[in-house]
Chain length 358, copies 5
C-alpha cells in the first residue's frame, strides 16, 4: 500500500516516449465492464436509465433538462475514445481521465469545463486510505462524471434527485457539480476522523509499549498525513478558480454553495495540518518513551551492582589465604563482618532513596 | 478533552450526505431552553427584556433605535429556523450557526453581514480551554448575537449600556459589534496568561523531576498551543475585512476602534507564537533533563565498579589455593596487601576527582 | 524577568471588560513624579525649560519654532488626560501610551501622527535586557515624546541641539523624529553586541563544562533571542510607512535620513536572526557535549570491567576447593598463572589501543 | 559522484577573470567528435541527414519546412563559435551552452529564444543519477538542440517524425519544442521511480540492520533528493514563461500541450518533495533502530549481571576463611545455600518477567 | 574570527550618539597610505596613472572618455571628505563607505548611483573567509570604486583595458560596473568551492573519527554557511534593481551582461543553500557516529561481562568452604566443572553469534 503512494508512477513508465494524447490506462488492472447511468431531470421530470454504450447517451446531449451521465470505470479505452468523439473532448483530457495519478485541477475549454479531483475512502478495519480519481466534464445543462471504480459514492445524490422538492431538482447543472464535490469533501472529514482516531490510539501505545511495531505504525501515519496533502490541497485551487474566475457555466446563484464547500475544505486542510503535526510529535513521544525505558533498565543494573560489588569485595578480603589474618581467628570476626556488610547495605539503600532511585 | 480537539468532526459525520442547509445541531448535546434577550437603546432610551419566542423580537426589527438580540443556545432547530424565516437569513448561515466547528469568518450578504468567531475560556483550576462559537448577524441598527452556551460573557456590555453616558449608548450598531468582539479578544489575553503560567510551572518540573507525567503534560501544552491558532488566527482576516472592505454597515467613525481591537489581536497572535515556541522548547528541556539523570546514574555505576573491581581481583589472587604462594606465608603479607589496596583506592579517588566525577 | 516576557499581560487583566479609552496604567507600579522638559529651537534660538504642568507647555504649542516636549513617566493618569485635552489627542492613543505592552506602530490622524516603539537597554553586569516604551506625537513643528522611565536616553540629542551648527538646529521637526529613532536603533546594536558576547561565552562553557546551569542559560538565551523580535521587527513596518506613505509631516528632505536608519534596522534584524540561529545551535552543542561525556564515562567502565573480569575469573578458578587440582600442587603453578594473567592483561591493553580507547 | 554535486564548479575556476563570452568548455573532458543531425520536415516531406560541419546546415536555415538540427557534444569550441557566427547567436548564449552547470532558464532575444534544461538519467544498477544539459535555440520554423553527450535520448521523436500521420509532422516548430521537453519530463518520472525504490529498500534495511553503511546510503539519498531540486525546479519557471509570456514563436495552438507537460512537471515536483520528506524520515528510523538495538544489548547485560551478582556475593560469603562459621560445619549447609540461591534466581526471573524484559 | 562574524558591530559602538554623517572609520585599524589609481579610456586612448591626492583626479571628472578612479583604503577620513566635497557625494554615503558592516545595497541619487557589495576571499590554507566591502560611485562616464584593503582584486580588469580589442574598451561606464561585479561573483564560486571541499573532508572525519574537535569544526562550518548569506543574498536585490529599475546610467545594451551575472549569482545562492543543508546534515552524521561508537563500546562490555559473570559464579560456588560438599571430593569434580564452564562459554558464544554481536 505504502509503496504505491511513494511511487505512484510504477505503471506510468509504460507511457514514456508515446506521443501525447495516446490513450493507455495507467491505473490498477481492471476487467469489469464499465457502467453508464444517464439521469435527465428538471423541476417536473426525472428520467434515470442505465445504458450500455456511449451512443445511447447522445439523445440526452443537448436537451433543455439537466443531463447527468455517470460512468463507473475508466479503463476501457474504446469507451473513452467514443466519449471524446461524440462529445468533442480534447485527447489530452481523455488521457488525463485514464491516468489516475493526476493532481486535482480545473481546465476551461471553449465549450466545456474539465475538473479532476480525488475521492478518499478508508475502510474501518484497516489503516488503508484508498484514492480514487473523479473526472467531471461540464457543459451547458450537462454533467458527465467519470469514476475509476464501481461504487455507491453518489447514491445520496440520486436519492435527492428522486425527491421532487429537493433543491437540486430546482437548480441547474452547476448546482449538481457542487453537490458532487460536496459529497467528496464530506468524505474527507470521515477519513480524517479515522486518521485522528488512529493517531490517538498509537500515541497511547507509544507511551505504554514502545515496540518497533509501534515505530513502524508511527512512520506509516506520518507518511499518510504527508501524502494526504497531495489529493486534498490542489482542490482548494480548483474551488478558488470556480469562485473567482468568470466561468459562464457557474452562475452567481450557486457561488454561495461553492463558498460553503470551500469553507469546509479549508477546515479539512486545517485539520490535516494539525494531524500532521500530531503525527510528527508521535515520534518524539516514542523516542522519549524508549529512552525512559532504557533509563529504568540502567537504573536497576546500577542499583544491583552498586549494592553488591562492595559487599563482594569484603567477602573477597576474608577469602584470602594469608597465614596471619588475625580477624579470621577472632571469635566474633564472622558476625562482625556480617554486621558491617548489613550496615553498608543499609547505607546504600538510604543513598538510593536519597537519589530517588527507589 | 484533547481528543475532541484533534477530532472536532466526531459528530459531523451524522451530516454527511445530507443536502446543504439541512439544520442539524452538531455540537455537544444540550437540553436546556434557549434564552433570548432583547435590548433596544439610543442615546436617551434603553429597553431591556427577556422574551420567550423569536416572534416577540419582531417589533424591534426595524426601529430607529439600535436593537440587540442576544440568544444563548443554538441547539434548538425550531428557533434557528424561525430566525431564518423572520429575518430573511440564508439557510447556509443557519447551518453554520448550528455547527460549532466553523472557523472564524465574515460573510457579506445583500442586507446583512454574518460574522462567526470563537470565545475561549479556561477555568482556573484545570488545563482545559473551552471553545465556544459566537455568531453575529448585523443589519442596519440591528445586531443579533448567538452563543452556544448560557453564560455571563457579555454582562459588561449590558452594564455599560445601562450607563447613559457610556460611548456605546451614543453610537450605532457597528460600535456594539466592536464592543462584543473586544470582550472576546480581551478574554484571549486571559487564556494566554494562564497558558504561560502553566508552561512556566511545567518547565520547572521538567528540570527538577522529569517523569513521564511531565512528558504527557508537555505534549498537552504543545498541542494546546498548536490548536489555539485555529480559533484565533482567522479572526485577524475577519477584522481585516472589516477594516479594508467597503462594508456600508461599518462606518468610518468606528474604524478607529476596530483598528484598536485588531492591534490587540496582533499582540495575542505574537504571544501565542512565543508560547508555541516555548512549549516546543519544553520538550528539549525534558529530554536534556532525562539524559542528565541517566548520565548521573551511569556515573555512579562506573565509579563503584571501577573502584571495587580491581580490588576484588587482588583479593581473588590471594584467595587462590596454590601450594606455594610465598606471599601468603610472609608475616606482613596481609597488611601489605591491605595497604596496596588502600593505595589503589586513593589513586582511583584522585582520578575520579581529576575527571570531575566526584 | 523571563516570566514577564512570556507573560507581558500579567497586569493587563485589570482592564478586561473596561470600555476602550479607559486610562489605566498597566506597567510596573511607579510613584516618582513625571518630569516634563520643553525645548523650543530654530536655527538661531534655543529655549530649554523644565515645567511642572502640561498647561505650562501650551504657549509653545503653535509657534514657528520647533517645539519638543519630552515627558519622562506615563503612569500619571491626570497628566495623560491633560495632554489629551490640551493637544486634542484621541483617547485610544492615550490608552496605548499608558500600556507598555504595545507593539511598535504608526497611526496617522488628521492633524498628528502617533508612533510607538521600544527602547532596549541591557545593564552590562547581568543578562537582563529591559524594554521601555517610547511614544511620539508629531504635529507641524511639534514633537512630544513620552518615555516610561526617567533616564538620560535622549541626552545626546539635547547636546546636539545646544550646538548652533548642528544639522538638527537647521531642520524641522521630522528631522528631530529621525534623530530620536536613530538613538533607539543605535542602542539595539549595543544590546545585540552584549547578547552575542554572552552566546559566545556560554558556547565555550557548553563544550567544556555542560552542567544543567549551562542548559538553563542556553534556554534563557534562546528565549531572549526569540523575544527580541517582538520589540524590533515591527519598527521596520513603521519606518516603511514613513518612507512610503505620503505623510505630509515627513518631508522629502529627511527621507534620506529615514532610509539610513531603516538600513541600520535591517542590519539589526539580520544580526538578530543570526544570533537566534547561533543560540539554537548552542543546544545541539550542549547535547553533544553531554553525550560525549557519557561516552567517556562508559568507556572507562568498559575498560576497567573488561580488563579485570576475565582475570578475576581465573583467580576464581584456582580459588576452588576441589581435592584434586594438579595445578595447585605444581611448584610453578602460581607464577605461571600470574604470567598468564599478565599476558591476558597485555592482550587486553593492545586490543583497547587497537580500538583507540586508550 | 556526490562530490561533483556539492561542488559543480570544480572546473569553473578556470574561467575566473576571463571576459564574458569567452568560450571555454567547463564540463568533463571529452574527445569524441561532435555529431550533427539535420531533420527537415513538413506534413508531406521528411529529410534526415547527418552532416559534418555547421556550414552544411545553412541551406536548411530559412526554409518553409521545419528544420531541426540536433547536435551531440558541446565541447568543441570551434563548432560552437561557428553556430554563433552563422546563426547570429549572442556570445553569452554560446558560453552558457558550453557550461553544463547552468540552471534551467529561458531567454528571449529579438529573433530567437534560448532555453536550457537538464536531462536526468539513472542507470538501473547503481545509485548514480547523471545530469546532462540540453540547450534549445528556437527560431521561426527552426529548432536547434544541443546535448552534452551522444545518446539515443530523442530517438522516439525521430521515430514519430517518420510516421507521416503523427501530430508532430502536422504542426510547427513550437510543437517540436514541446515534444523534446516532454521526453525530458517523462524521464524525470523514471528517475524518481528508481529513487523511491531505493528509499524503500534502504528503509527496510535501516530497521533490520542499521549498520554505518546504511547510514552512508541514507545520507546519499537525502543529498540526492536535495540536489535533484536544482535541475527540476527551475524548469517550472521556464514553462511558466512559455505559457504566460507573449512569445510570438509559441502559438496558442500548442499552449494546451505545454500546459500538459507543465502539469506533469508539477506532479514530478510534488513527488520529489514527498521523497525528500521520506528520505529525511529515514534518518529518524535509522536512529530509532540503532537506539532500539543498544537498548536490547543493555537489557541483556542488566539481566545477566542482576541475576548473578547477588548469587556470587552469597558464594563469596561462604568462601571466607573465618575460623568459626557455624553454617560451614552444618551438614545441610551446602544444599540449603544452593536452595537459597535457586530461590533468589527464580525470584529474579519472575521480576524480569514482571518488567517484561524476558 | 568567528567572533567578529557574530558580532560585527564591536567597533560600531564608538559611533552611538554621534550625529548622522559623522565620518569615523569603523573597520579594523589601518595605517597604510591610501592608493588612488586613475584610468581614463575610450576605444582609442588609454591613460593610467597613480595619483597622490583627490584633487589630482579632478581633471578627469567630466571628460568624454570613461574615467575609472580606484581607491584602495577607506580609513583616511580626510580623503573621504575630499571625495565628498569634490564630487558632491552625500555625507551618509561617505559614512557608509567607511563602515564595512553595510549590507549590499544600491542607492540612486540625482546625479549618481551608489552601490555597495562584498568581496569574499579565502586563503587556501585555513578556514578563514574574509569579507571586504567594495563601494561604487557611478556617474555619467565615471566610475569610482573604493576598496577596504590594498590588493590585486581588479587586476584582470586593468589587463583587459590594456587590450584595445577588448569589449570593455568599446563600451561605456556601465559595462565597467558590470565587469567589476562579475569579478566579485566569480570569486564567490571559488569561495564556495573551498567551502564544499571542507564540508566533504569534515564529513569523512565525522564518520571515521568523531572527536570533539570535529564537532567544533562542524559548528564553524554551519555558522560559516549561515553567515555567508549576509554578504551574498542582498546583492541579488541590487542586481534586480539594476535590471528592473529605469536607471538612466544603465543602458539597454549592458542589461544582457547584468542578466548574465545575475544568473551566476542565482547559481551561487543555490549552491550556498545546498552547502548549508549539507553542513546541517554533518551534525546528524556526527551524532550518529558518536552513538554508533558508544554502542560498540557497550557491546564489548556486555559480551565480556555476560561471558564471565556466570563462570565466575560457578567458580565461586566451589570456592565455598562448606565441610560437606561431595563434588569437591569427587575425583572428576574439577575436570567436570571445567567442562561445564567450557560448555557454558560455547553456548554464550553461539548466542552472541545469533544476536549478531560477534
Amino acid at each position: 500500500m505504502r509503496i504505491s503512494f511513494l511511487n505512484p508512477f510504477k505503471r506510468y513508465s509504460q507511457k514514456v516516449g508515446l506521443p501525447p494524447g495516446t490513450l493507455v490506462y495507467v491505473g490498477e488492472e481492471r476487467t469489469e465492464p464499465v457502467r453508464i447511468t444517464v439521469t435527465a431531470y428538471d423541476e417536473t421530470h426525472l428520467h434515470e436509465e442505465e445504458v450500455q454504450t456511449v451512443e445511447a447517451c447522445l439523445p440526452f446531449k443537448d436537451t433543455a433538462t439537466v443531463t447527468w451521465i455517470h460512468i463507473e470505470g475508466v479503463h476501457d479505452t474504446q469507451i473513452i475514445e467514443e466519449i471524446g468523439a461524440h462529445f468533442g473532448i480534447n485527447s489530452l483530457v481523455l488521457e488525463d481521465l485514464m491516468s489516475p495519478t493526476q493532481l486535482s485541477k480545473i481546465e476551461i475549454y471553449e465549450d466545456y469545463v474539465f475538473i479532476i479531483f480525488k475521492h478518499l475512502d478508508s475502510d474501518t478495519t484497516s489503516l488503508n486510505i484508498s484514492r480514487e480519481q473523479i473526472g467531471l466534464i461540464i457543459r451547458e445543462n450537462f454533467v458527465m462524471s467519470l469514476q475509476e471504480n464501481p461504487g455507491s459514492l453518489f447514491t445520496p445524490i440520486h436519492d435527492r434527485l428522486k425527491n421532487v422538492n429537493s433543491r437540486v431538482r430546482k437548480m441547474r447543472s452547476d448546482y449538481l457539480v457542487y453537490a458532487l464535490i460536496d459529497v467528496i469533501v464530506d468524505n474527507y472529514f470521515i477519513v480524517l476522523e479515522q486518521l485522528s482516531d488512529q493517531i490517538e490510539s498509537v500515541e497511547e501505545e507509544a507511551i505504554t509499549n514502545p515496540t518497533s511495531e509501534v515505530l513502524a505504525r508511527i512512520n506509516e501515519l506520518r507518511r499518510e498525513c504527508l501524502l494526504l496533502r497531495r489529493p486534498i490541497l490542489p482542490l482548494r485551487d480548483v474551488l478558488n478558480d470556480v469562485l473567482e474566475d468568470e466561468i459562464p457555466l457557474f452562475t452567481q446563484e450557486t457561488s454561495l454553495y461553492f463558498r460553503d464547500v470551500y469553507d469546509h475544505l479549508i477546515q479539512v486542510i486545517h485539520t490535516l495540518e494539525t494531524l500532521r503535526s500530531a503525527a510528527s510529535d508521535l515520534f518524539d513521544t516514542y523516542t522519549s518513551a524508549v529512552s525512559h525505558r532504557m533509563n529504568e533498565v540502567i537504573k536497576v543494573l546500577t542499583i544491583v551492582a552498586t549494592f553488591f560489588i562492595p559487599l563482594t569485595f569484603i567477602a573477597g578480603i576474608y577469602g584470602m589465604n594469608f597465614k596471619s589474618m588475625p580477624e579470621l581467628e577472632a571469635e566474633w570476626g564472622y558476625p562482625i563482618v556480617l554486621l558491617v556488610m548489613g550496615g553498608i547495605g543499609i547505607a546504600m539503600f538510604l543513598y538510593f532513596r536519597f537519589r530517588k532511585w527507589l
